[in-house]
Symmetry: C2
Subunit: 246 residues, 2 copies
């Protein structure tokens, strides 16, 4: 058995998230395991770097799986792309060391949240952007983002109210860029809690719209209460861009 | 009644073409007329610059319609965008002279056909590209395209076998550009016959694949026979980019 590392892109629109769930057909993990199990004629477990929510996209999710196969890396890739649906793509398959684990070995992740602000509707990428009705103040959002940088207890930004484990995470970069009709928020950190990027985005948008103040951010962090933060921005605008490994 | 000029973008995937047809709900013209008829509480006829095939996209189809309304140009645009489905967008509404006719006054059109050639599947724009399994020879395609420039009887490139009117058209520019995994064919001419851009594309691709020779093109034109030309490239890759008016 060899361990393989997969780079996977997907349009999350039709899927109930990355993680397989009982009696739910449309999950990314479920689709990957199903194709690899048929290919190897054995039960295959696919490990993902993280669990993207229902509707969230990925340009480079990293997974790994142990496989018994004579196929080359590119043959595995081509086989999978042939049998996977149109909205999941295997970008690359590489043999990895036996100790490589897509989740435990990940040291950082980049997510990008894309908003659209324009008089006219975005037609051709309407499934990958969150359409804003009001233009937020980008400077205020950038100021507010500075308070989020660093290692904090992000419990206020966690979508799972029953989270038992530590909610401390480290964010080292938030870039907020306005270009034409698009506003993108790029987050890099060691890891993110459930819904965390979407709640961070929702909170920053509320600052941009004047519903919250820049200076509210430290209090929101301090509150350790989901109610203190802003709304959960819709999944449609979120994309996992990169996973780091040493 | 004032005459209005509309710039319309649409993702043609779900539609049975631009032109309304009896008992067919999903046409662009049908959707536009329906929304404008409700807005003005009267029967409205929308004239399009051309009739795109089922599945063909547009970034700037031009239409016109005579309307009795108190709304401003932008109010008409916003009203329409609100009630039209997500895959049709009114980019601009402008009052036009009473004599403006979107079809009769059009002096030229630009269509772009987009092919994708890559080891991995295009996920995020899979509905707007034709995926090629084999890379064509771009130089040969460019050489072949030169024979198509000018005023010719394009009967061999007409998808309507019952076409009674003249099949003479003038093409003044064909640009074939390969960039990364994308191959685009851009056509500019005074007007195009039914399926003409798709048949031109299919024929040029066959030259690129070596199924036809560069020097076959004059004979194909001369034959005035649809069987002489190449296949009809699928609608998915085609987009109307621009309509010219004096």
């Amino acid at each position: 058995m060899k361990n393989y590392k997969f780079t996977v892109a997907y349009d999350g629109s039709r899927f109930h998230g990355f993680e397989k769930q009982p009696n739910v057909e449309m999950t990314i993990q479920g689709k990957l395991e199903s194709v690899l199990s048929i290919m190897t004629d054995s039960k295959v477990e696919v490990i993902g770097a993280g669990r993207t929510d229902a509707g969230v996209h990925a340009r480079a999710m990293i997974c790994n799986a142990h496989l018994e196969t004579d196929k080359s890396e590119n043959e595995i890739r081509d086989y999978m792309n042939h049998y996977l649906p149109d909205d999941i793509c295997i970008c690359e398959v590489k043999e990895a060391s036996d100790r490589f684990h897509a989740r435990y070995k990940a040291t950082g992740k980049t997510y990008v949240y894309t908003c659209y602000i324009g008089d006219i509707k975005p037609i051709f990428n309407r499934k990958y952007v969150y359409v804003l009705n009001r233009k937020p103040d980008i400077n205020k959002m950038q100021e507010a983002a500075k308070y989020l940088i660093g290692s904090h207890d992000f419990k206020s930004f966690c979508g799972n109210p029953k989270m038992k484990k530590s909610t401390v995470r480290e964010i080292d970069k938030i870039e907020i860029v306005s270009k034409g009709s698009y506003l993108t928020l790029s987050f890099h950190g060691t890891g993110f809690l459930q819904n965390m990027v979407r709640i961070l985005t929702g909170t920053l948008l509320e600052v941009g719209w004047g519903k919250k103040n820049v200076e509210d951010i430290p209090d929101i962090i301090e509150a350790k209460d989901r109610q203190a933060a802003g709304f959960t921005a819709p999944a449609i605008g979120l994309c996992l861009m990169k996973v780091d490994y040493n």
